[in-house]
Symmetry: C2
Subunit: 337 residues, 2 copies
Amino acid sequence: MSRETLNVALAMGPGVASRIFSAGHLESLPAGLRLLNHEPMEEFSSRRSLALLAETDILLTGWNCAKVNATVLDAAPRLRHILHAGGTVKNHVDSACWARGVQVSSAAEANAIPVAEYTLAMILLANKRVLQIAGTLHREKAPVEPDGLFPDMGNYGKRVGIIAASKIGRHVIRLLKPFELEVVVADPFLTEADAQALGVASVELEELMESSDVVSLHAPALPSTLNLVNAGLIALMRTGTTFINTARGELVDQEALLARLERGELFAVLDVTTPWVLPPDSRFYSNPNVLLTPHLAGSLGTELERLAATALAEAQRISRGEPLRFPVQDEDLAFTA
Amino acid sequence: MSRETLNVALAMGPGVASRIFSAGHLESLPAGLRLLNHEPMEEFSSRRSLALLAETDILLTGWNCAKVNATVLDAAPRLRHILHAGGTVKNHVDSACWARGVQVSSAAEANAIPVAEYTLAMILLANKRVLQIAGTLHREKAPVEPDGLFPDMGNYGKRVGIIAASKIGRHVIRLLKPFELEVVVADPFLTEADAQALGVASVELEELMESSDVVSLHAPALPSTLNLVNAGLIALMRTGTTFINTARGELVDQEALLARLERGELFAVLDVTTPWVLPPDSRFYSNPNVLLTPHLAGSLGTELERLAATALAEAQRISRGEPLRFPVQDEDLAFTA
């Protein structure tokens, strides 16, 4: 069956295209696709944008894309697909899109991968106490007996607790498969069948906190998850536990966490905090049991190219008449970050 | 088919048993196996040892085991298997063992796993420049734009170069499978068919050095590999490359490496150096582009239990009439660490 060529138009904020498309990425679109504009639309109201929209079958969007509302859809009678080369579509895709039968896809899965990779690396280092021992060696410049410092060190016979079987949480679980670590998950929406399919044990959050050697937080930031990891839960962690947060500072009682860190009872790897940028006098900076990173676990640098590659692969599926791999429905938005 | 019960005897240096057997490990040996001694033999000449050897079918050895030579074998007429709960058997298994038909097994595969895990974590952090950026954040206590510091950061579209498809090198290759990284291997003994089976590209060492974003060394320490990574090869690495050494300092020209580190051209993660313990004034300690760890990548802490579990699993296979999973032949010793 022969298909007509589909017109792809780009729409995203200033400077985004050069970050998500590597050299040559747009030069050769797959067969059956034609790129209408190398310069992305930054709004949908100019004469140029209206002319492009009139011809667009597939809108490939990036961060800071203008809102695709009913007026924009009126100007785009051929539009059938919006493919987002980014995580959330909340900010630019209007309910009107689904109402008119436009299919939406996002690269949220691809966006989850780097966070899971960061988390995996930190879990492996935490169980082995690598960064603590490296710190001691660099400071003391003298022989260090690693298991003299930490007799419990090692990636064997340890329990990793994953809070929330979210997209990122599930990628972490997938990446933990090759290791001899026990993985437990706390998620009120995770069914027993789902847990079995994931190969993990489903436990209550309290049990996860008190029994895990490493706790990693992967819940979405929603009104219902604010302060999810409260002081009572933080108190449950055993001495020596490592707490990893790549989600949001607002999900964790920062003061309760800091108090236990300052008593030397916990370790923490924090890619996110509250406030988002810590003041210079924050005790998180100077605590020797804390590794801080500046919101770098998500897609950055070359990883942004994966977002564009994911959206372009969706376009290729459409041109072949295949279903979207990462469809997003209107009703999904309430449950995701 | 019913089998007789086989007698297992322990032999290793002082203090080793308590490190490799977790509580209860020895209380319940699998069916068909009987433990002769909870207190390991530390030599093979005492009256107690001779009495034990006379009854021993399987010798389960650990670090600092006394040499099993022809005299010991004379005292152990039933001995058919030596199972080592450690890496190399070079130090305690004599050629006489194989000559008399005693089968030998080692936990070198299990011992390789933690090194590969450490390497994987360091590769993921290196590509993302995580520790460099964390260092900047902790030092400056101010907002940091990660990809402003390192535009090339990311675990996507990067090349990892593995020097030597050794046991550890192959475990690293296995662990790298789930990631979107290109893996190339330099190993003069790796056939094209082997490389294909491993899913990697086989390249010359020079090409590996000059084209990889991360170079990780996994060659065994042999007379032929001394100074393998010489000054000429070190000069080939591009600016920004991370060099990981978990093998031996002697395989690398330390001065040439340090010179490029001090020019800020390379990053290094060094679990091993020459000398084995660096003097307090070593510039490796203070170079901001170096992460030093004190020989902790190998099995330590709870990971030692994996060595004992591996040897006990071999004993179980023997009791079931199954072949050894990790047999060691006399002629293997020349090619391994």
